[in-house]
């Protein structure tokens, strides 16, 4: 199955955001959700079919114009599945462009690597100086009690014309040592990994302190200052609950418009 989707958000001239393009096709369907009238808009990815399955080739393009604010979420976890034998790996390519003064928050539900899947996810984010990006990705290594399929993720985030973050992660039988103590730990089956990247000026001004985060039960997490203008929080756990416990509170706080009370809350969190 081949599918493309595109969303373009721009400022509406009254301090809010409007969508000028919202287009998708199964299984990449986009729905505008949430209330009107706020500073930002929310769009949900709604699964239009099972998958991704082997052979699928999916592409999502996100553009956020100056001063617009867009959140993208998904209604459910995506489940990478084996699909017909002999097909090439399923592919999902996400390209995002975030203009100066704009905010994009990508906060989807996890990707689950079902046994036998072969999935490749490529993300390219290009953010102008003065943009704010919150980019979350969670991965669950297999459904309950089954071995983890093969997933390779490949992320490139550029900010103000320079590469801010470049990261690949491979799990599954073809990735040596992936479930060992250097990569994701021995909790292989059902284990989970999550990261949230925070790029842009509000991040350095208001984020939670860097360093080892309060480690959730059955997991471990850290918040790191990148070499460039951004932070990365990473969590590894025996299950997705541990990852959520570490990352969800950060995502609620980050990328919101600055408010004195909120800043206070973050300083004491």
């Amino acid at each position: 199955m081949r599918a493309t989707a595109r969303v373009v958000a721009e400022a509406n001239g009254r301090g809010g955001t409007r969508l000028t393009v919202l287009r998708g096709e199964s299984p990449l369907l986009l729905r505008r959700t949430g209330p009107d009238g706020g500073a930002g808009l929310t769009v949900h990815l709604v699964g239009g079919a099972a998958g991704p399955l082997r052979g699928d080739d999916l592409s999502l393009r996100i553009e956020v114009d100056p001063a617009a604010r867009l959140d993208i979420r998904s209604v459910a976890a995506s489940l990478a599945l084996p699909g017909p034998p002999g097909r090439p790996a399923s592919r999902l390519r996400i390209e995002a462009r975030v203009a100066a003064g704009a905010t994009l928050r990508w906060l989807p539900e996890p990707l689950i690597a079902a046994a036998g899947c072969d999935h490749r996810a490529v993300t390219v984010v290009e953010a102008e100086a003065g943009a704010t990006v919150v980019w979350r990705d969670d991965l669950v290594c297999g459904r309950h009690g089954e071995p983890c399929g093969q997933v390779r993720t490949d992320v490139l985030v550029r900010y103000a014309g320079a590469t801010l973050y470049r990261h690949e992660l491979a799990v599954g039988a073809d990735a040596p040592g992936w479930s060992g103590p250097a990569v994701l730990g021995s909790s292989g089956t059902g284990g989970a990994y999550g990261s949230v990247l925070l790029a842009g000026p509000p991040v350095t001004a208001t984020a939670a302190p860097a360093g080892p985060a309060a480690s959730p039960a059955h997991g471990t997490a850290v918040i790191m200052d990148l070499a460039g203008p951004g932070r990365l929080a990473t969590a590894v756990g025996a299950d997705i609950r541990a990852v959520r416990a570490a990352l969800d509170p950060l995502c609620e706080r980050l990328g919101e418009p600055p408010e004195p009370q909120r800043d206070q809350a973050m300083a004491t969190a």
Partner: protein, 220 residues
Amino acid sequence: MSLTTLLVLADGRLPAGGHAHSGGLEAAVSSGRVRGMADLDGFLQGRLATAGVVTASFAAAACADPQRWRDLDAGLDARTPSPALRKASRAQGRALMRAGRILWPVPALDRPAAQRIAPHHPVVLGAVAHGAGLVPRDAAVAAAYGTLTGPATAGVRLLGLDPFGAHALLAGLAGACDRIADEAAARAGDPVDTLPAAGAPLLDIGAEQHATWEVRLFAS
């Protein structure tokens, strides 16, 4: 190339500070993730497939064209989210730069900017290998192997593991190091953004936790 020159560069006894680093093993031992030889095996495999591949690729690229050192250095910054690991890599780069420039001419690192910044270790390794008359594959194999020897010997010191067994793990990974070096050499001229970027989340997390300890045997 000279095989002996490669041995000089890759020798753990080269006074370039490598003995001070456990490649993340000390943190993995402390957290209970590495307890015995089988865990060390899994640790080394994962480290080679992630940090080893990235290190080999950047060493090969720097050896192929040492003038790219600034771009390659920025590429490693983008691939190293952990400040503790960036610091450890630059410390090892500085130590190798000091040793390497005494052993061989390394014009790319003579610049004041290189002296001031102290590029990441894989970049220095590649530039020094170039100065020593080695080729990108040599630099890559020294780099890939070098990501393993630190944690393997640290396992012996931290856990009292059988040193023969720990070295047997290294011998068993020789073929993987060779394949990684072949691939790194083949891609040495690729744009920086497309070079490998395999991450190891637990190495990042462990390094950040390790950096907060007051007492530790290894610098990283």
